[in-house]
C-alpha cells in the first residue's frame, strides 16, 4: 500500500479579517468494507474517521467522515484570519493511528 501522506495548502500571508480557504488532502485508501480485492475477498473497513483543525491550540473545525467519503479525502474550508499563528491538522485512522501536519500563517 502506498504511504499515507497528508498534504495541505494554507496561505502564508493574510490580511486581517480576510477569509482564507484552507485545502487539505490525505492519501488514504478509505476502504469502505464493501470493496473486494483481486481474489474476491472482502477488504476490511479502514477509513479516516475524524479530521480536526486547531489554530493556536484551539479547535476551529472538525469533521466526522463515513465510508461514503472518497479515496484520498479532500477537505476544503474557510477561516477568518485575525492573528498570526499555527494550524495543526490531525486525521484519525480506524486503526487508531493519527497523522498530523502543521502550517504557519502570518497575518498583517
Amino acid at each position: 500500500m502506498s504511504k499515507i501522506k497528508p498534504r495541505g495548502k494554507v496561505p502564508k500571508k493574510a490580511a486581517i479579517d480576510e477569509i482564507i480557504e484552507i485545502k487539505t488532502l490525505i492519501r488514504h485508501p478509505m476502504h469502505s468494507g464493501r470493496m473486494k480485492d483481486k481474489d474476491g475477498k472482502n477488504i476490511p473497513k479502514r477509513i479516516i474517521n475524524k479530521f480536526l483543525v486547531k489554530f493556536n491550540g484551539k479547535q476551529v473545525f472538525g469533521m466526522d467522515l463515513e465510508p461514503s467519503i472518497s479515496t484520498n479525502p479532500y477537505i476544503a474550508f474557510p477561516f477568518k484570519a485575525k492573528v498570526s499563528g499555527t494550524f495543526d491538522f490531525e486525521w484519525t485512522d480506524d486503526n487508531g493511528e493519527k497523522y498530523t501536519m502543521s502550517r504557519k500563517m502570518d497575518v498583517s
Partner: protein, 153 residues
Amino acid sequence: MKQQKMKIISRRNVLFLMGSVASSALFTKFAMAKPNLALQRIKEISKSKVEEVDLFLDVPEIAENGNQVKVSFDIDSPMTKDDFVRTVYLLADGNPAPNVAKFSFTTDMGACSATTRMRLSKTQNVYLLAEYNNGKFAMTKSKVKVTIGGCGG
C-alpha cells in the same frame, strides 16, 4: 353493550387479527426502510423540527464517476457568537449507509462553507442538514444522476 360485543370475538378471530397486525407492521417497515434512510436519519437528528429552505448545495447534476463526486456547500450566516451554524450533516439516500459526513463549525471560521468528495453508489438525492446555534434546523436536497456507481459493490 360493549362488553357483550367483546365476548362474541372468538379465539380464532383474535389470533387472526394479531397475525394480520404483525404482518402489516412488518410490511410497512420493509416499505419504509429502503427509500427513507436519509430522511429517517434527518428526523432522528433534528427531532422533526426541520425547515426546508434553499441552502446552497453544489453537486453535479450528472456524475460520470460515482467514486469521486465533488460536493460543496455555502450557508449564509454571519458566524457571530449569537448567530452561527454549529453543525452541518451531509446525507445520501441511495448509499448503503445514509451518513456521509458531519462538519463541526466554530465562529472563528468567519463563513460556513466546505468542500469534499464523496461516493455515490447510484442515482440518488444528496441532503444537507444544518443545525444553528439556537437549535433550529434547515435542510435542502439535490438529485445527482450517477453513470458508474462508486461503492465497490
